[in-house]
């Protein structure tokens, strides 16, 4: 039995677990269900860790049912596990385990007969995400995409007692499915042109034609689904609505890894399908996606700063970071991919930990509103408070957290493409870090003036339906241990040289189309079967520049948070004038931006259509046949 033969288990094991739990939930008590779910998720982690270890020997490929293509053509389905794909699947399984552990004592007693529903849905979600990360077949990517989508809609609307989760889940479901159907149209067009569904095969067949209108339309349609999942402006409107209302363990998964899968998909589709001759020229891809990423990062940061609903704030921070990830992969360099992969892993730990800590606040105080929680969580400041501050600093990119290292590597690669891109990284991560820092200071220590509880915000966070109706109880241990472990994991990623070394090689493999073709057995005939990967320079870990920029954005974040906390109380004419200026900017620029986030289903659909049109115009202009 080789590692490649184990590849389908990454999807099959969680699927089997979901079925088992759905059935066992009818018989077992709650504790039994929780133990079974945790054991199953741990087995998945072990399996993927083993695959990750084996993938150091090369890309693992499995033609399911041994339906190999003959003469370069066939209808078989392939799973391809390169280091980036398997690494992402490993990240997914780790976060799933964290979310399940966190949920041990999180929900109130589920109704008898349905105790296994929640863990079963989580495992189904895992199967969809792992499948999406590992598939080498474009149509299967669509199916896994819809599988994880459908489970995510159900999990978002898990609390049917409250209208808000239902609204969030409906918007999420309709917009994501519509986008997925756009992707499917693109896949159908590609099949019409090439007669293939495998990613590598399509890429190989495209080389025979020039990039005409059909290819551009197909590319934009496929990209639409992925960018909607990745919440890129103007496709991001569903994300804050869904993340603000989903149960906390689900938020950890949605923000931590599902959204990032959209970016991964975009990179995978570009490199395997469209990076060769007859595809989309690199400059078009780079220009369009870098601009999209920068706009998204800035928009997410500005909107994050404006929020008082903590989950919604973290959701906008995710949008901002995913924008940075898109910039990282659209540099189209191995260094960009390596940095982004590390950034995604570090961010997943930190963001999941922050959501988990927000869940503690919700559990203890029945609110996730920054203003009404002012100073109310003082008794938690030594446990949750310290972790919240650490999470905020890690979000800003404090060395030696994994986020800091990922940011430094991506920033460096971005700076080589455009000199001002690192400034965007520093600024946006500082703003999102500052927002979380501000919240931590207000909620856990009561720093600064008491915020005006009625001012501004359109989405508040008080009057939340508490997820547990037992407010007097002490914080359950898993709810504090899980975020601590997640933060520690993010720290380890930045400290140990192992992950960086592995991901440096993985980035080179990911951006080598020849290596992918060779791995699935479709090497171009006039080239050597095993591509020669250029000798790797020793991986760069921490550089002086990276540490300096990481510290800069951390200091900037602290300064911004301090301004927000104590700025309103400052005396003097200069402070008064600055406050007036800030108020005018908020009134003129930010308020219209906020009113765009209307949460209406119709508006979401309009933005989706607009975004597709803009992408079509942009790519048609840039791609000259």
């Amino acid at each position: 039995m080789t590692a490649a033969q184990l590849l389908p288990l990454a999807v099959a094991v969680p699927l089997l677990g979901a079925v088992t739990l759905a059935l066992a939930g009818r018989l077992l008590p709650r504790l039994g269900c929780d133990i079974l779910a945790t054991a199953w998720a741990s087995a998945d982690v072990v399996l993927l860790a083993g695959l990750w270890h084996c993938s150091s020997r090369g890309t693992q490929v499995n033609w399911v049912g041994a339906w190999k293509p003959t003469g370069g053509e066939g209808v078989g389905i392939v799973l391809v596990g390169d280091r980036i794909g398997i690494g992402l699947a490993l990240l997914i399984t780790v976060l799933i385990l964290a979310a399940l552990l966190y949920a041990w004592r999180f929900f109130e007693e589920p109704p008898a007969g349905h105790r296994g529903t929640f863990p079963a849905l989580i495992l189904l979600f895992e199967a969809g995400m792992c499948g999406f990360a590992l598939t080498g077949d474009l149509f299967n990517a669509f199916v896994f995409f819809e599988l994880m989508g459908a489970v995510a809609y159900a999990l978002t609307g898990y609390h049917v007692e409250d209208p808000r989760p239902l609204q969030g889940a409906l918007t999420f479901g309709v917009i994501n499915s519509l986008a997925a159907y756009c992707s499917l149209m693109g896949i159908a067009l590609l099949y019409a042109r090439t007669g293939e569904l495998g990613m590598a095969q399509i890429g190989r067949h495209l080389a025979g034609h020039s990039a005409d209108a059909l290819i551009v339309v197909a590319f934009v349609l496929v990209l639409t689904g992925l960018l909607v999942k990745g919440a890129m402006a103007p496709f991001h409107f569903w994300l804050p609505d869904a993340h603000a209302v989903a149960p906390t363990p689900v938020c950890m998964l949605l923000s931590g890894v599902m959204v990032e899968l959209g970016v991964y998909g975009a990179a995978r589709v570009y490199w395997t399908l469209f990076s060769g001759p007859g595809g989309i020229p690199a400059h078009a891809m780079r220009d369009v996606l870098t601009s999209t990423g920068v706009v998204t990062a800035l928009l997410g940061a500005v909107m994050c700063w404006q929020q008082r609903h903590i989950k919604r704030m973290l959701a906008f921070s995710t949008i901002s970071h995913v924008g940075l990830f898109l910039v990282g992969i659209s540099l189209l360099s191995p260094q960009g991919v390596t940095g982004t992969a590390l950034y995604v892993a570090g961010h997943a730990g930190v963001k999941a930990a922050l959501f988990a800590l927000t869940g503690v606040l919700l559990d203890q105080h029945g609110s996730v509103d920054e203003h009404s929680l002012y100073g109310r969580a003082r008794e938690l400041r030594r446990s949750a408070g310290i972790m919240f501050v650490l999470g905020a600093l890690a979000l800003a990119g404090l060395p030696p957290f994994g986020t800091g290292l990922g940011k430094a590597l991506t920033e460096h690669a971005a700076g080589e493409f455009l000199g001002w891109l690192p400034a965007v990284f520093v600024l946006t991560s500082a703003i999102t870090g500052a927002t979380v820092l501000r919240t931590a200071a207000r909620v856990f220590t009561g720093a600064g003036g008491r915020p005006d509880a009625t001012a501004g915000a359109q989405t508040r966070g008080d009057h939340e339906e508490p997820e547990v109706r037992d407010p007097g109880r002490p914080v359950p241990a898993p709810m504090l241990v899980v975020p601590a472990l997640l933060l520690a994991g993010s720290l380890v990623l930045g400290l140990l040289p192992g992950p960086v070394t592995a991901l440096t090689r993985a980035g080179q493999l990911f951006t080598s189309r020849a290596a992918y073709l060779a791995a699935v057995g479709l090497a171009p005939t006039n080239q050597p079967a095993m591509p020669v990967v250029t000798p790797v320079a020793p991986p760069v870990v921490w550089t002086g520049e990276g540490i300096a920029l990481g510290l800069l954005s951390t200091i900037l974040a602290a300064a911004l948070a301090a301004t927000a906390l104590w700025g309103p109380a400052l005396q003097g004419a200069a402070a008064h004038r600055l406050r007036g200026l800030a108020a005018a900017v908020t009134q003129r620029l930010v308020a219209p931006l906020r009113s765009l986030h209307s949460g209406r289903l119709g508006d979401n659909a309009v933005w989706l259509a607009t975004g597709v049109a803009v992408l079509l115009v942009a790519f048609s202009t840039l791609v000259q046949p």
Partner: protein, 117 residues
């Protein structure tokens, strides 16, 4: 290439656009989920058109000669999978709408306005 020239492609595009238009203007969530299904049906039309061959018969060889011209079976399998996916999503979304109606007695998307800004 095709029996009807570019007409099926135009129909697919039209269905997608008309579905999106319905979603944009919808005042009823059941109608909105229906519009999503309309938009999805464009993918069925497109997939089946892509695999069409003039004079082709169904890709079942039990009662025809193996050398007879058949339409592409791959896209039919894809369309079938697509139908399954669509049924799942539609059922799930309609279940959410029913919950909304039962517990909050509204199915007007404009009355759901708790999430803004």
């Amino acid at each position: 290439m095709n029996l009807l020239g570019p007409l099926p492609y135009l129909v697919a595009g039209w269905l997608l656009l008309v579905g999106v238009y319905g979603l944009v203007t919808s005042r009823n969530l059941i109608h909105a989920v229906g519009c999503l299904a309309v938009a999805q049906s464009s993918t069925y039309v497109l997939l089946l058109t892509v695999g069409f061959r003039r004079g082709g018969t169904a890709p079942v060889y039990s009662d025809t000669s193996p050398r007879s011209v058949v339409v592409d079976p791959v896209v039919q399998a894809l369309a079938l999978t697509d139908v399954v996916v669509g049924a799942t999503v539609t059922a799930l979304l309609l279940a959410l709408v029913i919950q909304l109606h039962n517990r909050h007695s509204t199915i007007d998307p404009d009355r759901l306005n708790a999430l803004r800004g």
